[in-house]
């Protein structure tokens, strides 16, 4: 039985993601873990997170998990979700300026205030709800129709320096990178665990992914 470790570093509720992973692939052993050794022994790793970037990085640095995640990013399939995606960038402008794990070179920026849609309606922040994901070819999109809607809730977005790592974009109102990939690392801004059928399919794809793009 293959194993997936969901990293628990005190940022948010991990039951949803654990339940969704279990539902998506009943043949996989889902573990919520705090311990570096358990993370390093798992076949795959999920790095979730909600809340503020500064708290997230403090928790990772204090627990020593920053180095563990950097190590995982070189060795086995890793899925970052929401804040777990943003933390993979070089830095974020949230809380002044916060350094990230720098696995993807680039920045995390706040949506500009007072953006409008094409009809002149004010766009709300946080970007909350179901929005279309424009995929670029990657095995984790297998069996997910192009432009499917996933559930988002965030006020900051990733802007990688290299466009080659963008695995999907979403418009709000301008296109931003809602998924990043590089070798065995994949990261999404939306919540697959809350995105019903398409979300479960993405988790299933990840749980059977060999880390090759």
């Amino acid at each position: 039985m293959s194993t997936v470790a969901v990293i628990d570093y005190g940022m948010g509720n991990l039951h949803s993601i654990a339940k969704a992973l279990q539902h998506a692939a009943p043949d996989v052993d889902v573990q919520i873990v705090t311990d570096a050794q358990q993370i390093l022994h798992a076949d795959r790793v999920v790095f979730p997170g909600v809340g503020a970037m500064r708290d997230c990085m403090q928790a990772l640095n204090q627990s020593g998990l920053s180095d563990v995640i950097r190590d995982v990013a070189k060795t086995k399939p890793l899925l970052g979700i929401c804040l777990g995606m943003q933390a993979l960038l070089s830095d974020s402008e949230e809380n002044g300026s916060t350094l990230g794990l720098d696995i993807f070179s680039g920045h995390v920026l706040r949506f500009a205030e007072a953006l409008s849609d094409s009809e002149g309606n004010k766009l709300k922040i946080p970007h909350m709800g179901w929005n279309q994901v424009h995929q670029r070819p990657h095995p984790l999109w297998d069996k997910i129709p192009q432009d499917s809607r996933f559930y988002f809730v965030h006020s900051y977005y990733a802007k990688p320096n290299e466009t080659s790592v963008i695995a999907a974009t979403t418009d709000y109102p301008n296109a931003f990178a809602c998924a990043l990939s590089h070798q065995n690392v994949f990261a999404v801004q939306f919540h697959p665990e809350k995105s019903q059928t398409v979300g479960l399919q993405l988790l299933n794809n990840f749980l059977h992914w060999d880390g090759q793009s």
Binding site: G12, G51, P126, Y151, E193
Partner: protein, 257 residues
Amino acid sequence: MSLAKRIIPCLDVDNGRVVKGVKFVDIRDAGDPVEVARRYDREGADEITFLDITATHDNRDTIVHVVEQVASEVFIPLTVGGGIRTLDDIRRMLNAGADKVGINSAAVFNPEFVSEAAQRFGSQCIVVAIDAKKVSAQGEANRWEIFTHGGRKATGIDAIAWAEKMVSYGAGEILLTSMDRDGTREGFDLLLTRAISEAVSVPVIASGGVGNLDHLAEGVITGKADAVLAASIFHFAEYTIQQAKEHMASRGIEMRL
């Protein structure tokens, strides 16, 4: 094409059963919350909200079990409101599998609770529920105030100023209920909805008064709501969620179909 507007069915839960009080009429039983939630998920609900109206504190655990069961098989956002007064109440609901909690009267009695909650758990999971009622006389400029105790107790607080304050305290979303319309099936208070939605930067969910599918569409088109919440039109299978979404889409609203 961009962000879709959301339809959120609301389940009023009393002692583990879905109920719906129609104004001036007895509360009607609408079934087992887990089964109802399952059906709404299948029909394409964008989120589900549970409002715990259980009167006695002892029976509060019931809603926790309902959320646990639903969260283990329904993978869309879940919100729980009703009786959320402490950080520990929030933690229990989030641990049970809720994604957001609705804070209503506790915010009115102690606004600091909202900022504490947002700091601890993040704004993304803090929905402030506002019950508003029109207080301006005919001919006067429209004015709405916050009411507590199911619309019976006036607070003297202006609804728009209150919504702005709650957002500045960290609310990630506003659930706005017109107490004039709740249970009437006459449609949302569109002027109220629009006034609040245009005043705040965060998403606003319109609630109170839905009697048909055009009401849902009007909430978005005229009321500028980001999401619409309804209970009774879905509970008694008058309309399915799917029908509601198709109708809204036919009115030119972007929906997840």
